[in-house]
């Protein structure tokens, strides 16, 4: 695989709305990605600082933090704040309404409701603190140990953790309450034990992920204590998630505590919210406010804890959640982001072309209210039956161009302007539904990475017959027969078995053949292949390219092939468009571009391919010898021996100076042979 020009990697990633505020689950809150190595520690610290300020900038962050602080303060200062003794019975105020002396009135036994509420706050905070403390004490150290040492301790502690999560805690709590004579501290410790798996799993997975980081290995090699490094990085990465988990745990502990008190379990002489709710509930019809106050206090506190956890999680996730913009809004912003001018050229009328793209622009949201354009008004066209190469380094916009041709850009992307013709008909770019109607019938697509492009949950047979049945209206048997034929055609010798296989049972080369079969099964007029060989072994690359050429010749499809490899271009293409930074820098026939590159960048790209031409020629020779035994599982079909030698990486060695006037750029001349045969 050839290395393209050292790429600045400016590729705009299609940021999705994926991580938008995932609420933490009990025990599995999202763990933010492990930060970079030790060198990045100062920038990491900076990010932490801003995480806290980001939290404080959010209204929900501030409000929840204030409520939590208030609750804790009231709990601690209860003896000072409480206007009366919470247990003092004054028969004059039994079920009394609010009055200046008793701001919230009296309860069913004649005690001051406000005082009981304030003392109940103390009980709540105290109980939650016990539960959280024990949860942390049990969960965090065992999680670190399990993640670091692995082995038997890991297995046993994992089993215990699973067991704790499989036991209905409330029932065990009732037993513990009975057994301990309703000892409040013992009950809350038990609550803490049942919540420990959350912390355990969190720290364990963090330690595991940090441990597998390359810089830990590097530190070991450098003679540093890996344990010290782990501790440092674990502490840094685990801090945020642990705080989130703590606030969730505190909230749930308060809920369980109140639930037990509601069942009259726990000491009766200390006032508690749960017991107050219970007392209020019995006379709810006559005096609804008695239940209102403790319920409100409990609900507000728990909601504040939950919202604080989520807001902190959002603030720690450095990437802001992408907002879904309306089409109109995207269009306006994309228009603002447009880089003036257009590049590339067209020579065909739309009606005569297989594909014609006119001044196409693609933009992505970059920050809150702006978009960044990644394809700047590119124009190109493809004749019916022609093979066009779209060449450029990563981030040059070549994939964005073909995905807009297919109507498969990510949802956040916007096609800013331009015209598109497919198979002689104009496509309304504003109507995505109509555009996508062309897929599977007029347009076919071969992806880059074979394994990630097959649905892991379905058999190959299901995935390939489904479009034939639902899009082309074939019967089940007919679809199956056609898929078997297509699989045979792409050189799979045992199509029946492959049909029954799941993707993970296939080799990469086999999976790519399956994907090619899927793309051509619908008999498209235009086939788009996005780096179809990049992810494959060198030996398989040649076969797949050969296969593509055959299919293209036989069906007379137009083929648009995206690649960063000039060897592929030389082998397969009639014409080539060279892209750089979202613009077409050069368009021409393969012959012109190889032999007389007009743009210095093209020359640079070709030269970069030639740098290691010498070893590759030897490799080619070796490959030609061994080709008979290669990839025995997937017979490549009837391939002429001469063609087989033309690997995708067989770069135009002859172009290196002396033979500029030679017929073809490749030594064997296969590409010219191939295109002449059409």
């Amino acid at each position: 695989m050839s290395t393209p020009v050292s790429s600045p990697a400016t590729g705009t990633q299609a940021g999705g709305a994926g991580t938008a505020g995932a609420p933490g689950t009990p025990g599995t809150p999202g763990t933010p990605g492990t930060q970079a190595g030790p060198a990045a520690s100062s920038s990491t610290r900076q990010a932490r600082g801003t995480a806290f300020s980001r939290l404080l900038r959010k209204p929900e962050g501030v409000i929840s933090l204030v409520i939590i602080a208030l609750v804790i303060l009231v709990g601690i200062l209860a003896p000072l704040l409480s206007p009366q003794d919470p247990n003092f019975v004054n028969l004059d105020i039994v079920k009394a309404p609010a009055s200046p002396e008793h701001l919230l009135g009296g309860d069913s036994q004649g005690r001051d409701v406000l005082s009981r509420l304030i003392w109940g706050t103390q009980t709540t905070v105290y109980g939650a603190a016990i539960a959280v403390a024990f949860s942390l004490l049990l969960g965090v150290p065992s999680g670190v140990a399990a993640g670091y040492f692995g082995g038997a301790f890991d297995r046993i502690s994992m089993w215990v953790s699973d067991a704790l999560q499989a036991v209905p805690g409330m029932i065990i709590l009732l037993i513990v309450a009975a057994a301990s004579g309703s000892n409040f501290v013992v009950i809350m410790i038990t609550v803490g034990v049942f919540m420990a798996p959350g912390f355990y799993r969190l720290t364990r997975s963090t330690v595991l992920s940090v441990r597998s980081e390359p810089y830990v290995d590097a530190a070991v090699v450098a003679g540093m204590s890996p344990f010290k490094i782990l501790l440092k990085h674990v502490l840094r990465t685990v801090r945020g998630p642990v705080i989130i988990q703590t606030s969730l745990t505190a909230g749930m502990a308060m809920g369980m505590q109140a639930g037990l008190q509601f069942l009259s379990i726990g000491t009766s002489d200390t006032p508690s919210w749960g017991a107050m709710m219970m007392e209020g509930f019995t006379i709810i019809r006559q005096h609804p406010t008695l239940m209102l106050w403790p319920s409100l206090a409990l609900g507000l506190t728990i909601a504040a804890l939950a919202i604080f956890g989520t807001a902190l999680g959002d603030a720690l996730a450095v990437r802001p959640p992408a907002k879904r913009l309306s089409a109109a809004r995207k269009a306006v912003q994309a228009h603002d982001a447009a880089v003036p001018g257009s590049t590339g050229q067209v020579t065909l009328a739309g009606a005569e072309s297989a594909v014609r793209i006119d001044e196409l622009r693609v933009a992505y949201p970059s920050s809150k209210n702006t978009m960044k354009e990644v394809v700047h008004g590119i124009s190109l066209d493809v004749r019916p039956g022609e093979v066009l190469g779209l060449v450029g380094e990563s981030g040059s916009g070549k994939s964005q161009t073909v995905f807009s041709l297919l109507g498969l850009l990510p949802e956040t992307a916007a096609v800013g302007a331009g015209e598109l013709w497919v198979d002689g008909t104009r496509v309304d770019l504003a109507n995505l539904g109509a555009h996508r109607k062309l897929l599977g019938t007029t347009l076919g697509y071969i992806p880059q990475e074979p394994m990630s492009n097959l649905d892991p949950s379905y058999t190959v047979g299901y995935q390939l017959t489904e479009p034939l049945r639902t899009v082309h209206g074939r019967s089940k048997e007919q679809a199956r027969a056609e898929v078997l034929a297509a699989l045979t055609r792409v050189g799979i010798t045992d199509p029946e078995r492959v049909l029954r296989s799941y993707p993970h049972q296939l080799s990469g080369g086999m999976a790519q053949r399956v994907l090619i079969a899927g793309a051509v099964a619908g008999k498209p007029k235009v086939l788009v292949a996005d780096e179809p060989t990049t992810a494959l072994d060198v030996t398989v690359q040649a076969e797949v390219l050969e296969l593509l050429r055959e299919l293209q010749c036989e069906d007379g499809m137009a083929l648009v092939i995206v690649t960063h490899n000039f060897g592929v271009v030389a082998d397969l293409c009639d014409r080539v468009v060279v892209m750089k930074d979202g613009s077409a820098v050069e368009t021409g026939t393969v012959d012109e571009v190889f032999n007389r590159p007009a743009d210095p960048y093209t020359a640079e790209l070709i030269a970069a391919c030639l740098d290691d031409a010498e070893p590759r020629v030897t490799a080619d020779a070796r490959f030609a010898d061994a080709s008979g035994a290669v990839d025995a599982g997937t017979a490549a079909g009837p391939v002429p021996a001469g063609r087989r030698a033309a690997t995708p990486t067989s770069t135009p060695a002859s172009a290196e100076g002396e033979a500029a006037d030679q017929a073809g750029p490749t030594p064997s001349g296969t590409s010219i042979e191939g295109s002449a045969a059409k």
Binding site: A22, I171, A179, M291, A306, G309, S457
Partner: protein, 313 residues
């Protein structure tokens, strides 16, 4: 596959054994002499001694344990220490009530969690989506009994749409049975619904960005078909959460049953724990943990069916 099931069943049996043994010793050691609690403080030494002989607590603890465990293995959980009726028959009487509520709640959770999750997962960032995010955070944190109280006040006391308390046997009146389940089921399910929905939503958003979804589209599949593929691939996490919810709902039912005065396991547990009626408590522990194990086994089989890779290993 069979090997996998056998392994899970054995692991489940071990779990039931460990938890019930731990509960046995915990309860006995902490309660001490149960006859005091059972007879009250006014009981004479003779009464206490005869009761101890009757229920067998005059023997060494380890003998009691093996006696209990040996009988439990044959499905005999002994008799209640309070009314001397068989534990199995008492639990058998109460279990259908609790299982009705929990099953109703799980069904609500599965159906509405899936609908909401798919609706928001396909269109992340919409108003409904953001409302769900906040609701899921708050509703999940709030205890079920708190939600139950709010629902009772609103729908039973004020609007009078549903009965506030009581249980109707399905044999007596099926619609009455459903009505008596409605509020307890909803109060239990609400938090679980939003939790499952937001899990499914996140999984769908992640799945929608995977390469093969784009490739499926490239073959011309309709949105509905592509969604089916996505849901099947996003389902495992939500199913795992659903199984965890089942455990949570069983515990939550204990309190919610009290609010609606339903004669389920909850009332039995609370009463037995206050009386120190250990055989009943042990029986309840074994039955609930066994149910949890069963649910997890079903979940594992479902996951294996959904995910072909897991099926093989």
């Amino acid at each position: 596959m069979l090997q996998f099931v056998i392994r899970r069943v054995i692991s489940g049996i071990i779990l039931v054994a460990v938890v019930s043994s731990a509960t046995f010793f915990l309860a006995h050691l902490a309660i001490g002499d149960p006859t005091i609690g059972l007879l009250g403080s006014s009981a004479t030494q003779d009464q206490m001694a005869s009761l101890a002989a009757k229920i067998g607590t005059d023997r060494p603890l380890i003998v009691q344990f093996f006696d209990w465990a040996g009988h439990a293995l044959t499905g005999d959980f002994g008799d209640s220490w309070r009314n001397f009726q068989s534990v199995s028959s008492q639990i058998g009487l109460k279990l259908p009530v609790t299982l009705s509520i929990v099953t109703f709640a799980i069904l609500l959770t599965a159906v509405f969690g899936a609908l909401l999750g798919i609706a928001t997962g396909l269109r992340p960032g919409t108003v409904v989506d953001r409302v769900l995010q906040w609701l899921s955070v708050i509703l999940f944190a709030l205890p079920g009994f708190w939600v139950a109280l709010v629902l009772v006040i609103t729908f039973a006391v004020n609007l009078k749409w549903f009965p506030a308390v009581g249980y109707v046997q399905p044999g007596t009146s099926f619609s009455g049975w459903l009505r008596s389940l409605a509020l307890p089921g909803i109060s239990l399910a609400l938090g679980a619904v939003v939790m499952v929905a937001s899990q499914l939503r996140n999984a769908l958003v992640e799945t929608s960005q995977l390469d093969y979804v784009r490739t499926l589209r490239s073959r011309g599949l309709s949105n509905a078909r592509v969604t089916l593929h996505m849901v099947r691939n996003a389902a495992p996490t939500s199913l795992t959460i659903l199984a965890l919810m089942f455990v949570g709902l069983l515990g939550g039912a204990v309190v919610v049953e009290q609010i609606f005065a339903l004669p389920g396991i909850g009332a039995l547990t609370t009463a037995s724990s206050q009386n120190g009626d250990i055989p009943i408590l042990l029986g309840i522990t074994v039955v609930t943990v066994a149910f949890v194990v069963l649910v997890n086994l079903v979940l594992d089989l479902l996951l294996g069916w959904i995910n072909p890779k897991a099926r093989q290993s």
